[in-house]
């Protein structure tokens, strides 16, 4: 049976060139990057190369990059690090963070936790496409606002937020701007200086690097309070022995990401638009997310009268790997907060399907999905008491 992977937003395979680059750091160059001997220095140098590769991708200086264990930790460190550094010793009341209703749980749950311990958080609403309104943002700013955290590209519906406008507003009001760019990296050029971004989270496994490693861009001059106390690595912001193979892999993935960006972008955009065009004629299905301002690899539809988990399992049976925002696929049995935030009812959200493309996706893959999907939708609708009611 043909197998088609269309869940690149979930994770990506590690690029062969990345693997090749990483391998020596498991058993040959295995020193601790903090050691002063030759073994340590070799590992240290490798990490510095990676720092430069990541910096190059973001137009940041290498010493503005902190290594972490992934996107979730980067979000936690960026947000909590700034929050704890900014809080008065006894009183956090009134200290204000602005975020959006459609953030990844790594940001949303971190903000909710900060609320529990006394910070104020404003969750900006979004329009039907998932966009925040920069005017809402500016009007929400008070003298106590110290941090704005808004994602670059949405992990579910692919909508790209107005980052440049947000950066102008935060700069004007002298507020720190963090963005979770985990999904956007490698799919859209990002210049942290041009966009006035102060903190930016990245994850390696979304860009053909290994799992378990990520990075946080921290603009020079911004101080973070660490969330993991220990040996004081990474300027004391993030203690832990350097994961040298992982860091080397992340660095190489960023280098390749930069080198291949325009090719990747046009490749994925072409396939994305073809897939959208093929799916659209299916009766009573609707594209979620912004028609134009969307990540090059994201296709997100909802289908009336069918449920997303069933749809995904039927696709899986045909060898197609996809994803859904249906409640039934989550253990919390709640529909996706993103789909509810763009104004869908839980019933509409249950019928959602996310197909995400990658560097290795082909026209054949798109055609295979475009053929299999209408049959599966019809099969499930024939079983559904809600169809044609």
């Amino acid at each position: 049976m043909k197998k088609v992977y269309m869940d690149y937003a979930s994770t990506t395979p590690v690029d062969k060139e990345v693997i090749k680059e990483m391998l020596p750091y498991f058993d040959k160059i295995y020193g601790n990057a903090s050691s002063i001997h030759a073994y340590g220095i070799e590992a240290f140098d490798a990490c510095e190369v990676a720092r430069e590769q990541i910096g190059n991708l973001l137009n940041a200086s290498p010493d503005e990059i902190i290594f972490t264990s992934g996107g979730t930790e980067s979000d936690n460190l960026g947000i909590k690090g700034v929050a704890f550094k900014n809080k008065k010793k006894r009183d956090t009341k009134g200290y204000h963070i602005i975020t959006s209703a459609v953030e990844h749980p790594a940001v949303l749950e971190t903000c909710k936790h900060l609320e529990k311990i006394g910070f104020n958080v404003k969750y900006l609403p979004v329009d039907e496409y998932g966009l925040i309104n920069p005017n809402d943002l500016e009007q929400s700013i008070s003298k106590n606002t110290f941090l704005v955290t808004i994602m670059f590209g949405n992990n579910e519906i692919g909508t790209i937020e107005p980052i440049k406008e947000i950066g102008k507003i935060t700069k004007k009001h002298d507020i720190i701007f963090h963005t979770d760019a985990v999904q956007a990296i490698g799919k859209i050029p990002i210049d942290v200086n041009d966009l006035n971004i102060d903190l930016l989270s990245i994850s390696s496994h979304k860009i053909y690097g290994p799992k378990g490693v990520g990075g946080l861009f921290v603009r020079k001059g911004i101080k973070l309070q660490t969330i993991a106390h220990g040996g004081g690595q990474e300027k004391g912001f993030r203690s832990s022995t350097h994961n040298t193979p992982g860091i080397v892999g992340l660095g190489k993935a960023c280098e390749l990401g930069k080198k291949r960006m325009s090719k990747d972008m046009s490749h994925m955009t072409n396939l994305r638009d073809k897939l959208i065009k093929e799916i659209k004629p299916i009766e009573q299905c609707y594209l979620n997310g912004h028609p134009k301002n969307r990540l090059a690899n994201n296709v997100h539809f909802r289908f009336i009268a069918i449920e997303g988990e069933s749809l995904n399992l039927m696709l899986d049976d045909k060898g197609i790997a996809a994803s859904t925002g249906s409640a039934c696929s989550s253990k919390k049995l709640q529909a996706s907060h993103v789909l509810l935030a763009i104004g869908l009812s839980p019933e509409e959200a249950h019928g959602s399907l996310r197909l995400t493309l990658g560097r290795m996706s082909t026209k054949d893959d798109v055609e295979y999905v475009a053929t299999a999907l209408p049959e599966i939708v019809q099969k499930l609708r024939n079983m559904s008491p809600l169809w044609n009611r």
């Binding site: 009268a305 069918i306 449920e307 988990e309 069933s310 399992l313 039927m314 049976d317 249906s326 409640a327 039934c328 696929s329 253990k331 049995l333 529909a335 009812s345 839980p346 019933e347 249950h350 024939n382 079983m383 559904s384 008491p385 809600l386 169809w387």
Partner: protein, 126 residues
Amino acid sequence: MNDKYTEKVLDHFKNPRNIGEIKDADGIGTVGNPTCGDVMTIYIKVKNNKIEDIKFKTYGCAAAIASSSIATELVKGKTLEEALKLTRNDVANELGGLPSYKMHCSNLAADALKKAIEDYKKKKNL
């Protein structure tokens, strides 16, 4: 309890037994709510106090579809009294187990069947 679906759940999901409607059904039972992501309708045909034919339509996840499928299989040919004894545990056990957070799906199947039988009894003034 394992969170993965058993082979039997996947089999009933992919090849549901007794799928469809009965146009001149003697009893029809619908339970669930589209907001929660599950709606089931069970149709029964009754002869000599026995479930002669049974069909279902389900909107929902794999557990919901498999639960309705196996429930119809379990009660087909049974007397109404026997069919009414069907519990959610019977449904789940017959499927080789369900993830704990999916147990409500097996409940729905048993409830839809009860509702269809009640509907039949009401129509017959039993």
